[in-house]
């Protein structure tokens, strides 16, 4: 009995550290949605949500010459090619005001006329749609697509 209690306490203490931790402000906010149109200037792969999966993060220069860091999706989820200089349209949640630190979590992007849905209207990541609740996702490929 005491062994079980010790194990449970250990799990409770360790579990939060094993789970994906985000910074307090790094969440999709459906109340603050914007549309950005611009050109891809830089492509990075970052461990935004822990070490499980590398996220595609783009630096996009908007038409009115404002740079944005745009969080797209895990690298494996996107089948499309993205290259520097490509035109991109993003619909997403703006986390920090436009400026040097402007940061977007993309809900839907348009690349070369193809529309790619990444999150639902409340920000649920579509790559996790069929996955378990640890956020690992189904790893079954990209979400809903459609020609615009």
């Amino acid at each position: 009995m005491s062994k079980n209690r010790f194990f449970l306490a250990a799990v409770l203490l360790l579990a939060p550290s094993l789970l994906p931790q985000q910074s307090a402000f790094h969440f999709f906010d459906p109340k603050n949605l914007v549309d950005i149109q611009g050109t891809v200037q830089r492509i990075d792969l970052e461990e935004t949500y822990g070490k499980r999966s590398r996220f595609l993060v783009l630096t996009v220069m908007s038409a009115d010459r404002v740079p944005y860091r745009v969080e797209i999706c895990p690298q494996w989820f996107l089948e499309n090619d993205i290259a520097v200089g490509m035109k991109i349209r993003i619909h997403g949640s703006l986390l920090a005001e436009a400026g040097e630190n402007a940061y977007l979590i993309a809900q839907e992007i348009s690349l070369q006329g193809e529309r790619i849905a990444l999150r639902d209207r409340r920000g649920f990541p579509l790559w996790s749609q069929h996955g378990s609740m640890d956020g690992s996702g189904s790893r079954k490929g990209p979400g809903r697509r459609g020609k615009r």
Binding site: V11, L12, L13, A15, P16, L19, P20, Q21, Q22, A24, F25, H26, F27, F28, P30, K31, T48, Y49, F55, E71, P74, I105, R119, D120, R122, G123, F124, P125, L126, S128, Q129, M133, D134, G135
Partner: protein
């Protein structure tokens, strides 16, 4: 009881209406179950909110860190999707099991539910106010898996019940149609039988008259002929020719009268196993003796057995073969075989055939389409077959012979 288009439309409409009614009853039942499950979930959420409020209030007195630790411990639970602490509308702490997913509502409500791709999520929010009036809210979003299970089970049972009820309705409708069709068929048969009986009653009256008025004078005529015959000069060929013609015609009239009475009276049936080879051998000899010029061939399936009235069956076949000969057939092929307990007899000739419009009257009494026919032979054949418990049908293409099929 005839199946009319209107009747079918009414039955189909009623069936569809009953399926729709069952569906909507099941649907409303499903909705009630889901609503009850949701009530339970909300009631559970309200309890959690009270516990969370108490716990958070106690912890907040010791600073933010114990509350954050407490929320993280809650977050470790499998069913919990996200936790968050907000202070004056700004996030103080948050954790989510799905990257970037924190669907907090606008104004915190103690319990709210919303749909997500995972299913129904319940968010419990406890709002606390410290002595300085600063508002802190703690939020827990968790997945109420039982609701999804109930939903799935209710959906499954709705589908199954609707399918089951639809199947029952379809079976009942099918049964009703089949019953109706059978009744319709039976009614037509009864009507036909009634008409035939009426016709036969008329024929009986005529036959009785013929028997009474013709049979006796004809008998006297034949006796007179028998008395005159020996007195005729055997050397007189002309007299001999006319004498034979007279005898033949008297016999023909007697035969017609005999067949008339057979047609109107019930025949005694004596069924017994028939030696088919012997039976057909005898019949072939009899048909050859008629000297009609029609060749009759018989093909018997090996091992075929027939229990019937030998004399009556002979009468049926005699009538059909005679009919074929009168229709100018040069050959008649008889084939006997059995299938699924029924013996089938096919009598096919190469005569002139029967016109399509005549085919439906071919078994009616006194319906003859030949110059020398009396219209009794085939009517008698059908009457006998029916008394033997069988059926007879005719098929023909004009100019290409005819086929009579008997099923016993």
């Amino acid at each position: 009881m005839k199946v009319s288009a209107r009747y079918i439309a009414v039955v189909v409409a009623l069936s569809l209406a009953s399926i729709a009614l069952f569906y909507f009853l099941n649907l409303s039942n499903r909705r009630a179950v889901e609503a009850k499950a949701m009530d339970l979930a909300i009631s559970e959420g309200q309890t959690i909110e009270k516990v969370l409020g108490k716990a958070a209030s106690g912890l907040l007195g010791q600073g933010d860190a114990p509350l954050i630790r407490f929320m993280d411990e809650i977050f470790a639970n499998d069913q919990v999707i996200y936790v968050a602490i907000q202070r004056s509308g700004r996030l103080l702490h948050a954790a989510s099991k799905y990257e970037g997913y924190l669907p907090l509502g606008g104004d915190p409500q103690p319990v709210r539910t919303f749909r997500s791709p995972l299913g129904e999520i319940i968010e419990v929010s406890a709002t606390l106010r410290d002595r300085s009036g600063l508002e802190t809210s703690a939020h827990i979003g968790y997945f109420f898996s039982a609701i999804e299970e109930i939903r799935r089970a209710a959906k499954r049972s709705l589908l199954l019940l609707t399918l089951l009820q639809a199947a029952i309705v379809l079976v009942l409708v099918g049964f009703l149609f089949s019953f109706n069709r059978q009744m319709g068929r039976k009614e037509i048969e009864i009507q036909k039988e009634k008409e035939e009986k009426e016709k036969l009653q008329e024929i009986s009256l005529i036959t009785a008259g013929i028997n009474h008025e013709i049979r006796n004078p004809l008998h006297s005529l034949y006796l007179s002929y028998q008395m005159l015959e020996p007195r005729l000069d055997p050397a007189d060929a002309d007299a001999a020719f006319h004498s034979q013609a007279l005898k033949r015609e008297i016999k023909r009239i007697q035969d017609i009268i005999e067949r008339f009475s057979t047609l109107t009276h019930s025949l005694p049936v004596r069924k017994q196993p028939i030696d088919l080879a012997q039976f057909f051998s005898e019949r072939q000899a009899a048909w050859a003796a008629l000297e009609t010029g029609t060749r009759v061939t018989v093909e018997l399936e090996a091992g075929a057995r027939l229990v019937s009235d030998r004399d009556l069956l002979a009468q049926v076949l005699d009538n059909i073969v005679r009919n074929a000969a009168e229709a100018g057939a040069r050959s008649v092929a008889i084939r006997l075989f059995s299938r699924r307990g029924t013996v089938h007899l096919s009598v096919r000739d190469d005569g002139q055939g029967i016109k399509a419009e005549q085919l439906k009257f071919i078994f009616d009494p006194f319906m003859s389409f030949k110059s020398r026919g009396s219209g009794i032979g085939l009517a008698l054949a059908r009457k006998i077959v029916m008394q033997l418990g069988g059926t007879i049908e005719a098929a023909s293409v004009e100019g290409r012979g005819a086929e009579f099929r008997i099923h016993l």
